[in-house]
């Protein structure tokens, strides 16, 4: 018998949790892009309102970001055992 046949079979498992998190990160990615893009546009139109706009920009950013961060739990629950 050859050495190849006696070697232990290699088991590959698909990690669904990581896959799910990758999918879940798409939405917040688009959202954060929209938040910053529109805030920069607003600041370019009205530079005198920069302080006010950036305050709301950070609030919007944090609300969008939390979605991605909550999804971080998923790979730890549905990992390849």
């Amino acid at each position: 018998m050859s050495a190849l046949a006696t070697a232990a079979p290699v088991v590959y498992q698909l990690n669904f949790g990581a896959l799910g998190y990758g999918l879940a990160a798409i939405g917040p990615g688009i959202g954060i892009g929209l938040v910053f893009g529109h805030a920069i546009e607003a600041m370019a139109r009205q530079p005198e309102a920069t302080a006010r706009i950036s305050l709301y920009m950070w609030i919007g950013f944090s609300l969008t970001e939390i979605l991605a961060l909550l999804g971080l739990v998923v790979p730890f629950i549905f990992h390849a055992s």
């Binding site: 232990a8 305050l55 950070w58 609030i59 944090s62 939390i66 961060l69 971080l72 990992h79 055992s81």
Partner: protein, 270 residues
Amino acid sequence: MIGDVRVVADAAGGCHLFGNCGFPAPGLQNFNFKPLFSVGSFHFTKPMLIAVLCTVIVIAFFWAAFRKPKLVPRGIQNLGELGILAVRDQILRPSLGRKGDVYLPFLVSLFFYIFLMNLMELIPVFQFPAMSRIGFVVPLAIMVYGLYLYLGFKNQGAWGYISNMWPRGVPWPVYIILIPVELLRFFIIQPFTLGIRLFANMFAGHLLLVIFTVATWYLASFTIGLLFAVGSAAMVLFVFVLELLIDLLQAFIFTTLTATYIASALEAQH
């Protein structure tokens, strides 16, 4: 899980330069530490040491800067004033305005404490963000929650505060949905997300650093794997700089949201 990964790595012939075969996959076990010393059932661990050290450093720094404040600042007072002015002009003034300067000491200490706790992730010897243990984040979130509830009840009265929360001038059937959602947002989602955001960011950042560092060590060999090791080492540097940014950003966001919540407690939002 680790056992399985080892088996797969052995079968694939994965052996690295200095030691045995097998890939020690980073995971939740990287966040648990053996106690440095124990007093009875109380175990003093590395995150606790980092937290105590950060507190002492922040207190000592501002004590040294403003022990004898002079009109023309010299030495360390320059640095202290720079920090305080940054927090005042970037965080406090946009949301609270000039009348909110009473809360400046609270926000400054909150900002620098969180920033230093996060920064410990990158400082050699420590290399652990204490904020990635949720036990260090929850007291901060509870403190902020208690503060803005107290300020809201004090300034607007219990019923006035709650009734000011939902928007006026919508058709009445909308209130059936709007009132529970607003109450849920205010009493549960706001404090919950405030804490979770800081915790999850630090957790993910530390895990990212650990993964690339371990991968660099694992891939270093005399074969073609060395090329991958160089790539992984470059990623460590990149993630290092990224984490530097995220540490600052998270301290900034936590303090900004605190200032916003205080502002909404002080006066009704329309």
